[in-house]
C-alpha cells in the first residue's frame, strides 16, 4: 500500500517527485512531449539541491470533471521552474498541445513569493495580480493522501511521458498516449539487468496511476461531456466494455472514492504480480494486463493499456518459424497510436533484427517523434542495437499511399525479413497485397 499522508482528505494525489539531476531531464522531456514537440528546452549542468514536486488529482466541480495540478519547487537554476510553469499554462491553450485545458494549475512554489523587484519573481507576482492565479502555501495540501512516484535518475523520460499522458484529455491521442506510457513503463523493467526495488516501485505506481485514470477518470469525463467520445475511441482503442464502464461510473455516488479504490487495488495487484518478474516482455506484459483486469469492476475482452501489445505478441508467437531476422535483413513496420518502446524492442529482439524501417502517416507525427526519442535512449543503454529509418507517407489518399508503398517495397525488396502492418486500412492493405504481387518472401503480420 502506498504511504498515506497524515490525514486522508478527499482524494489521492499522484505525486511526481524529481530531485537533483532528475529535475533537469524530467522537465526538459516533459516540455517536449507536452508541447507536441513544438518546444525544446536546452540547459545542462547539475541541479544539486533542486526539488520539483508535482501533485495531480482529478476534481469534480459542479458536476464537471477537471484535474488539479499543484507545483512545488525548491532550488534549481534561476528561471528554469518559471519556464516550466509558464509552459504548462501555455499548453492548456495551445491547439497543438495534447494537454487538456481541463487541467487547472493551482499552486506555484512552496517558497514564499519574494518582493516584486527581485527580477526572477517579478513575473509570478505580476501574473498573480493581473490574472488572479491563486498562489497558495504548501501547508494547505500537506495533509492529503499521496501516491508518490519518484522520478528515477536515468529514466526521467518514462515519467515525463507518464505525466504528459495523465494531463492529456480524453481524446484519441490522449488515450493512445496513456497506452504508450504504460507499455514503456513495462519496457523500462526490461532494460535493467538487476532490478532494484525503487525501479519496480516506480513502474508499479505509474501503472496504477494510469489504471485509475483510464478506467475511472476517463469514463467519468465521457459520461459528463457527451460527444467527446464516439466510434473512433470505442473501436480503435480496444476499449471494449466502455458503455458498461460509463454506466458503472454514472451509478457511482462518489466518483472520488471509486478513483481511490481502483488506484489502491491496482497498486496492490500489480505489486503482487511484479513480485517475481519474468524477463520475457510478453509474459511480463501479460502478467500486468491480467492483474489490471482482475481489479476492474467491468469485464473486458481486451485490456486498454496493454491489450494491444498482448494481441500483437500472440500473433508473433505463431509467426516465429517463418521469420528470417538474420544479418542484413530488415523489419518493416508501421507507426501506430500504440507504437511503444516495448512493442518495437520486442519485435527486434525476438527475431534478432538490427534494422527497422518505420512507415508513418501524418496522423502519427507525434508518435513517430516520441518513438525515436525512446529508441535513442534505448540505444544509449544497449550500445546502439537498433537502427531505425522513418519514412512519411500519406494516409488519407489511399491511392497515393499504395503507390508510395509499392516504391518502398521495390526498394528494400528481399532485404525485408518481416512486415508487421498496423494502423489505417490505407496503409495495411498495400502492405498485405503488394508483397505477394512483387514476389517478396517476407511474412506479413497484421496485429
Amino acid at each position: 500500500m502506498p504511504p498515506i499522508g497524515k490525514v486522508r482528505k478527499i482524494m489521492f494525489y499522484t505525486v511526481f517527485l524529481a530531485e537533483n539531476n532528475a529535475f533537469n531531464s524530467f522537465t526538459k522531456s516533459f516540455i517536449s512531449y507536452a508541447s507536441s514537440f513544438t518546444l525544446k528546452f536546452g540547459g545542462k549542468g547539475s541541479q544539486k539541491g533542486a526539488k520539483l514536486k508535482i501533485m495531480l488529482a482529478p476534481i469534480l466541480i459542479e458536476n464537471n470533471v477537471s484535474k488539479e495540478l499543484i507545483i512545488y519547487y525548491k532550488g534549481g537554476k534561476e528561471g528554469q521552474i518559471e519556464r516550466f510553469i509558464d509552459a504548462i499554462r501555455y499548453f492548456r491553450f495551445n491547439k497543438l498541445s495534447t494537454i487538456s485545458d481541463i487541467v487547472v494549475v493551482k499552486g506555484i512554489g512552496s517558497e514564499p513569493i519574494r518582493e516584486a523587484w527581485g527580477p526572477s519573481y517579478l513575473k509570478v507576482a505580476h501574473e498573480s495580480l493581473k490574472k488572479a492565479y491563486p498562489i497558495r502555501k504548501a501547508e494547505k495540501y500537506e495533509s492529503c493522501c499521496e501516491h508518490q512516484i519518484n522520478v528515477i535518475g536515468g529514466y526521467e523520460k518514462f515519467f515525463s511521458l507518464l505525466l504528459t499522458s495523465l494531463l492529456a484529455g480524453g481524446h484519441r491521442r490522449g488515450i493512445g498516449l496513456r497506452q504508450i506510457a504504460a507499455q514503456n513503463l513495462v519496457a523500462l523493467l526490461l532494460t535493467v539487468d538487476k532490478l532494484d526495488e525503487a525501479i519496480v516501485e516506480g513502474v508499479v505506481r505509474g501503472l496504477a496511476a494510469l489504471v485509475a485514470d483510464v478506467y475511472v477518470w476517463v469514463p467519468k469525463l465521457y459520461s459528463i461531456k457527451k460527444g467527446v467520445w464516439g466510434s473512433e475511441i470505442h473501436y480503435s482503442l480496444a476499449m471494449f466494455g466502455l458503455d458498461t464502464l460509463i454506466c458503472w461510473i454514472q451509478s457511482t455516488e462518489c466518483f472520488t472514492d471509486k478513483y481511490n479504490d481502483v488506484l489502491l487495488v491496482s497498486y496492490n495487484k500489480l505489486k503482487e504480480a511484479f513480485g517475481n518478474l519474468p524477463k520475457d516482455p510478453m509474459k511480463l506484459a501479460k502478467k500486468a494486463s491480467e492483474s489490471i483486469k482482475e481489479c476492474l469492476p467491468v469485464k473486458f475482452r481486451s485490456e486498454v493499456l496493454l491489450g494491444y501489445y498482448e494481441r500483437l505478441t500472440s500473433k508473433l508467437e505463431k509467426a516465429h518459424d517463418n521469420v528470417d531476422g538474420g544479418d542484413g535483413k530488415i523489419l518493416l513496420t508501421t507507426v501506430t497510436e500504440q507504437s511503444s518502446l516495448l512493442y518495437i524492442t520486442t519485435l527486434m529482439e525476438k527475431f534478432r533484427f538490427k534494422d527497422i524501417v518505420l512507415l508513418y502517416t501524418p496522423q502519427m507525427l507525434y508518435e513517430r517523434l516520441l518513438l525515436e526519442d525512446f529508441l535513442e535512449w534505448w540505444n544509449n543503454r544497449r550500445n546502439g542495437r537498433v537502427s531505425a529509418t522513418f519514412i512519411p507517407l500519406p494516409g488519407l489518399d489511399a491511392g497515393a499511399t499504395y503507390e508510395y508503398v509499392e516504391a518502398i517495397l521495390n526498394h528494400y525488396s528481399d532485404e525485408i525479413g518481416l512486415i508487421v502492418a498496423g494502423g489505417p486500412m490505407s496503409l495495411v492493405l498495400p502492405l498485405k497485397i503488394l508483397p505477394k504481387k512483387l514476389g517478396l518472401k517476407a511474412p506479413v503480420i497484421i496485429p
Binding site: S32, S35, F37, T38, L39, K40, F93, N94, K95, L96, T98, H171, R172, R173, G230, S231, E232, H234, Y235, T361, P362, Q363, L365, Y366, R368, L369, E372, T389, F390, I391, P392, L393, P394, G395, L396, D397, A398, G399, A400, T401, Y402, E403, Y404, A407, I408, N410, H411, G422, P424, M425, S426, V428, L429, P430, K432, I433, I446
Partner: protein, 398 residues
C-alpha cells in the same frame, strides 16, 4: 556611418506556396476542418549588406520563410489563432489602398512597401497551376511539412531526414511522387536554413492525375468477362445513429455499386457484411442499393461463421469486388485476401476524409489568388467520380 556600421537588407522571394492550409494531424478522423489557412507561404533569400567605415563591404545571405496573410476584411482575429498555435512568423498585409503592413517580421528591416511589391510580383499563375496539380495527387505530405514548421528545430530536422529517406527510395517513373517530396524538401530546407537539394527545382513535368472514373473503368474492364459479379461491402462500424458519417457510407456504397452495375456486363449481386454491432447500419446501406439488384446482408457475430458465409458467397461467383468504407476488422479482411480461391478480384478502399483542391476556374483562383484545400466525398455521383483524382481512393486488382 559615423558610428562604424550600416546594414541594409534585400529580400528575394524565391517561391510562394498558395493557400497553405493546416489541418490538425491528430483530429483528422473526428473533425477534419482546418485550424488555419494562410494566404501564402513565402520562401525567400535575405541578403544583409554590411558597410563599415573601417572594413570592406560584406554581404551575408540566408534562407527564410514566413506565412503571409492578406487582410481582405476584419480578419485581425487570425492573429489570436496564430498566437495560440505558436505559429511561425506571419506577415499581415493590409493593402486597402495604402499597402500598409499591419505586422512586421522582427528580424527583417526592409521596407514595408518592398515586401508588398515583391509578394505581389510573385503571385503568378505558375505557382497556382503547379500546386493545383501536385495537391490533386496528395495534399497530406504538404500538410505534414507545414505542421513541421511549428516544431522545435531539432524535431523539424528529423522530419526533413524522413523526407530525404523517402526521396532516396523513389526511382524514375514515379515523377509525381518525387515532385511532391522534392518540393517539400525545398520548403524544409528554407525552414532549417539549409541549402535546398539539387533536385528541388521547379519542373513542370507533372501531369494532371487520372480520375477515379478512369482508373475504375480500367480495373472493371480487366476484371469482368461476363461472369457473375459479387460486390462485398464492408462498412466501418459506426455507433452514432443517423450521423453524417453513416449517410456518407450509404451514399458512397450506393453510387459505387450503381456505377459498377452500369459498367459491367455480368449479373451483379451485393452483400453488405455486418460484423458484431453493425447490423442496423448494414441494413441501411443495403436499402440504399438500387431496388432491381439481388442484395443481402451477411450478419454474424462470430468471426469463423462470418468467414464461412463470405466464402460460400465467393464460391458462387466468378468475379469479386471488395469495397471497404474507411475501416473494417483487419483480421477479417486479411483472411478474405488469403482465401479468394483463385477468383479474379479488385479491392476498393474509400476513406471518408481526404483533402482536395477546390474546383474553381483559374481566373477566379487568380483573382482570389489562392487554391483551397477541402474535404471531398460529401456528395458523390458519376460526375464527381470523373473529377476526383484516382489517388484519393484505392482501386487495386488482386
Amino acid at each position: 556611418m559615423s558610428d562604424g556600421y550600416k546594414v541594409s537588407y534585400e529580400v528575394v522571394v524565391d517561391k510562394v506556396i498558395p493557400s497553405p492550409t493546416i489541418f490538425p494531424y491528430d483530429m483528422t478522423y473526428s473533425y477534419s476542418d482546418s485550424v488555419r489557412e494562410y494566404d501564402g507561404l513565402v520562401l525567400a533569400t535575405v541578403r544583409a549588406i554590411i558597410e563599415s567605415t573601417k572594413s570592406k563591404k560584406k554581404t551575408v545571405k540566408w534562407k527564410t520563410l514566413f506565412f503571409v496573410e492578406d487582410l481582405s476584411g476584419n480578419e485581425t482575429s487570425k492573429k489570436v489563432v496564430d498566437l495560440s498555435l505558436g505559429a511561425p512568423e506571419v506577415v499581415f498585409i493590409d493593402d486597402g489602398g495604402k499597402d500598409k503592413i499591419m505586422d512586421m517580421l522582427v528580424h527583417f528591416s526592409f521596407s514595408e512597401k518592398k515586401v508588398v511589391e515583391i509578394f505581389k510580383k510573385t503571385r503568378v499563375k505558375a505557382f497556382i497551376e503547379k500546386y493545383g496539380k501536385l495537391w490533386k495527387y496528395t495534399y497530406e505530405l504538404h500538410n505534414l511539412a507545414f505542421h513541421t514548421l511549428f516544431l522545435a528545430r531539432s524535431f523539424r530536422e528529423k522530419i526533413m531526414e524522413d523526407f530525404k529517406n523517402l526521396n532516396r527510395i523513389l526511382k524514375p517513373g514515379n515523377e509525381h511522387l518525387r515532385e511532391i517530396v522534392d518540393d517539400i524538401l525545398g520548403i524544409l530546407a528554407y525552414a532549417n536554413n539549409k541549402r535546398p537539394s539539387l533536385r528541388s527545382k521547379d519542373r513542370e513535368r507533372v501531369d494532371e492525375p487520372k480520375s477515379v472514373k478512369e482508373v475504375l473503368d480500367e480495373a472493371l474492364k480487366n476484371l469482368c468477362r461476363g461472369g457473375r459479379v459479387l460486390v462485398l461491402i464492408f462498412p466501418q462500424m459506426l455507433r452514432e445513429e443517423a450521423s453524417m458519417r453513416r449517410k456518407w457510407q450509404e451514399n458512397v456504397a450506393a453510387e459505387l455499386v450503381k456505377y459498377i452495375v452500369k459498367t459491367v456486363s455480368g449479373k451483379v449481386s451485393v452483400r453488405v457484411v455486418s460484423y458484431a454491432e453493425s447490423i442496423e447500419q448494414a441494413e441501411e446501406i443495403k436499402n440504399k442499393m438500387p431496388t432491381y439488384l439481388e442484395k443481402e446482408v451477411i450478419k454474424e457475430v462470430k468471426e469463423e461463421v462470418l468467414m464461412k458465409k463470405i466464402f460460400e458467397e465467393i464460391r458462387k461467383h466468378e468475379e469479386i469486388i471488395i469495397i471497404i468504407l474507411q475501416d473494417y476488422s483487419k483480421k477479417v479482411i486479411s483472411k478474405l485476401l488469403d482465401n479468394l480461391q483463385g477468383k479474379r478480384a479488385i479491392m476498393i478502399l474509400a476513406n471518408e476524409t481526404t483533402y482536395d483542391v477546390a474546383k474553381l476556374p483559374l481566373e477566379k483562383l487568380e483573382k482570389d489568388r489562392f487554391l483551397k484545400a477541402t474535404t471531398v466525398w460529401s456528395e458523390i455521383s458519376e460526375q464527381t467520380l470523373g473529377e476526383i483524382s484516382y489517388s484519393k481512393i484505392l482501386i487495386c486488382p488482386l
